[in-house]
């Protein structure tokens, strides 16, 4: 594996920015059917920060995340993970980048039903052919409270437990950045609060960088910063948000959208 050479060890301690988008545009379709999903978005995601991306359906919040995470191609502009420029990377390099630098948490858990909880957690490292760091793994597993359930298969776990496995999977390989796409969307409020608590804890105690797409003001309130998107542009930012503050902003946009 030559990824170590391709991606020099991140200067995590020095750089304050874990990921950055500059004039990032994403256009779907051509001619008359052309849809601009992202319109020259520039944004930085601070290291060891918990950022929430919000916005109504079709605002481009998921597209922004997909482009930043190397899941979707970029039409123009640039996207950086650490100091790696995503544009121009071929599929193989992008895959390696995702494997080594990015963690994912999905709305629908997306665990492999054939693997045990532990095997699911170490899956990214197994793919890379790396041995997981035992102590780190133990710490994560105990943090998310899965110690007694590592031998279980996903079907034997509750939704909240499954999503905790997914959180542990994202954390285990100590990625540069974790992208979470509506991580509480399929959970009841108590399980959702647990998962959000873990994400927040990973930022506080483990210096992890987390970017989360959500439409839930309560979830967004766990973040350090909320970015609001509408029509493919960043329209507002909010630091140290509370659920009420987020809700107020959202109402404001709704009203604006209606009048405009």
């Amino acid at each position: 594996m030559s990824h170590a050479a391709a991606f020099p060890a991140p200067a995590r301690a020095t750089a304050a920015v874990a990921a950055r988008a500059t004039d990032l545009s994403k256009v779907y379709g051509q001619g008359e059917t052309q849809v601009v999903a992202l319109d020259q978005v520039s944004v930085e995601f601070g290291r060891a920060r918990f950022t929430a991306i919000m916005g109504p359906s079709g605002s481009g919040k998921s597209t922004l995340m997909h482009c930043m995470a190397g899941l979707d191609s970029i039409s123009s502009g640039s996207a950086l993970i650490g100091d790696t420029e995503l544009t121009g990377l071929n599929d193989k390099k992008l895959t390696q980048l995702r494997r080594d630098k990015i963690g994912f948490i999905f709305q629908a858990f997306n665990l492999l039903p054939t693997l045990t909880a532990l095997e699911n957690i170490t899956l990214p490292m197994d793919i890379a052919g790396r041995k997981p760091d035992r102590d780190w793994l133990d710490r994560i597993v105990s943090t998310v409270g899965l110690s007694g359930r590592l031998k279980h298969r996903p079907a034997q776990l509750s939704g909240g437990q499954q999503q905790r496995v997914a959180v542990a999977r994202a954390l285990a390989s100590q990625p540069e950045i974790i992208f979470a796409d509506e991580p509480t969307g399929n959970l009841d409020s108590r399980s959702g609060a647990e998962v959000l608590g873990f994400l927040r804890e990973s930022v506080r105690a483990m210096q992890q960088t987390v970017v989360m797409v959500t439409h839930d003001p309560v979830a967004a309130a766990y973040a350090d910063r909320v970015i609001f998107l509408a029509d493919g542009r960043i329209v507002e930012e909010l630091y140290e948000p509370t659920a009420d503050a987020v809700l107020d902003r959202m109402r404001l946009f709704d009203a604006k959208n209606r009048t405009s």
Partner: protein, 856 residues
Amino acid sequence: MFRTALRNVLAHKARLMMTALAVLLGVAFVSGTLVFSDTVGEAVKKASAKSFQDVAVSVQATSGDAPPIPEDGQNRTTLLTDRLADQVRSLPGVATVHANVQGRATVADKDNQPIGNDWQNVATNYQPGAGGKDSRYPVVQGHGPASAGEIALDEATAEKSGLKLGDTVRFATDGPALHKKLVGIVHSEDPQVTAGGSLALFDTATAQKLFVHPGQYDELVVAAKPGTDEKALTAAVEKLLPKDRATATSGAALAADQAKMVEQSNQAMSKTLLVFAGIALFVGIFIIANTFTMLISQRSREIALMRAIGASRRQVVRSVLAEAGLLGLVSSVVGFALGTGIAVTMRAVLNANGAGFPDGPLVISPNAVLSALGVGVLVTVLAAWLPSRKAAKIAPVEALNTVDAAPKLRGLVVRNTIGAVVTAAGVAIMLYVSTLKDAEDITPAMAGSALTLVGVIILAPLLSRPLVSLVGKVTTRVFGISGKLAKENALRNPRRTAATASALMIGLTLITGMTVAGVSGQRASDEMAAQGLTADYQVSTANFRGLDPELTKKAGQLPGVQAAVPLRSAAFETDGGSGYGSITGTDLANLDKVTALKFVSGSLDAVRDGGVAVSRSRAEKLHWKTGETHEVGFFTGTEKKEKARLKVAGVYEDNATVGDLFGSTALVDPHNKPVKDEKVLVKTANGPDAGLEKEIRKALGDSPLLKVQDKDALRKENAGSIDTVLNMVYGLLGMAVIIAVVGVVNTLAMSVFERTREIGMLRAIGLARGGIKQMVRLESVVISLFGAVLGIGVGVFLAWAGGKMAAGAMPTYEMILPWDRLGIFLAIALVVGVLAAAWPARRAARLNMLESIGAQ
């Protein structure tokens, strides 16, 4: 509900494609067989009818009460004479009468090797008609034979021999080589000749001298004047014939007989082919059932919705069966078209290889159409029946579940129990079969094999766990996470994996079983050919008619030859007709020089005093003991048996050279008319050498039919003949294997479809496209290898148990595992796995990641 079924078929075109292909191939096999046999049968019937067109009556000489071969050991005698021919000629309504002499003659090529097989090498008399020519054999070059020194050959034989007009033809009928001058090359439509035999023509007097006696014929062929009643003419001819020594048959009856024979051989061939087509269809059942099970589990929400809005269980079942019926019908129609194409191509290909099927129009009988389509639809509906029952069990409430529950795997307890019982029964029968010796009834072996195979198929899901885990350990070690995921995926649904692997297993079980039994049997018979032989040469004739004893005597007097021991034989019945046996008459003085005999009781000296010796196994069977005397009845060629008393002078260990029973030539000769040496065993003074071999040949007449073989040549004589049979079996079972491969493709494609989200996630968290491909490919390899291991295992077991039956008849039988071939089968399974995965793996690797992650 029918509209739903139709919509479902259309909506799942791509997913049903592989299933359709499985049905299609099976139906193509069936319809190809039916159309081919109809077409060829019709053409052969027409051709044979044409060849009897000009025959109004055929008169054949028969032996009646007289022995078929006269006492003098010379040619047969018939009562069809020139006088009789003339009498027939003068009957009203008769146009012409051909008086034929029929014999066999084999021509030597430049290396003195026989051309064609003696049994289809025709020899007859050239009968010039009014214009000096025989209309049956149009002369292509030269002229018809007209004197004793002349011979004419058919075109193909002349070409094969490389002989030109004026050359001397070396040939043999029965005895030593004969020589005649090639004066003509003729064209022949004789079916035996077109099928690869040769034709030799002589003038009538020469043919009579060679095969019968001067003035005698074997057959009178009567052509009638137009408007003559065949039946009346036949009756009129019959009145002229000597009683019991000739029969008259009308041309129409001959044509009917011929047509019947063609029909029978045709039916035998198509029956064999249909067995293999049936196996292919049986394999197809697994694929169809698998597909419908998968479709129904994918569609369970949809079905639940149908139930929720008021569809009854029965309607759900009917809808699924209608879908299957529709699929079966469409596939069968296409399959039939393909099969017809195969039938046409097959005739062309076989004819190009010299099979000699006559031309004729393509015959598509309504029977063939109905059977092929019926079988296709029936098999598909039958295979979908169990899955349709499962569909009916889906509860309406499942429509309301928002989250896809992982399909619950039903317990395998009932299945495993049934499987264990069936397998145990099959294995028990096979173990019993393995204790049988000389079993003539193969029903228990067939039943045991079928039960074992079915039992293992039922048990396959249970067996899949340990076997797949084992293979998976290797793939995990070698390929890392892709290998591990492949193993887990193969283990995920044992029923599906088992059904897919079973399809492959069936073909491989049969292939392995036949290979092991065939190779072992071949080796045994090779060994037997030279077992107990201490002679340096065995001399025999290719037409099995034996050698003149006078020549054997001459060969024995050659310098360098220690002994030339003749082997003659006579057949008899024992216990008043309840048993049969054959006794070898030989030169007892020298017998121990050419074969190693081990006496259990009695001795060769005692046999020399006028007794007989019996092999141990035959003695046990007949309950004969040394010192006893038993009465037997020798066959004479007629109803009468010649009684004789045989004194048992010894019992010896089974010996393939002398057979079950032997005595002196003096004892056997009276019952062996004419006296011929079937084999001659030659012991040389200084071991075999090429010069001496030539001398022996010369002394024995140097006929092209003569075979002088040393021990090595004897062992190798039939070597490779099993390969022809096995290759044919491989070819016929190939279709079953191809359908099984289609099944593997199908399962993988379905699995990839079902696991779209997982694949998307794996791509997102960093598994490269190559890794995804590898994962699908390895799953395919794991399933294929599982099927192959099961198939080879069961095949070897069945061959072992069944082979024991052969051991009774062949003392040299011993099971041989042809490791090279078994290795190739395993390698083929590996390749099949990789190939079958090509398309699904490509699709999996190309899935759009974002769409996949969100897919339901």
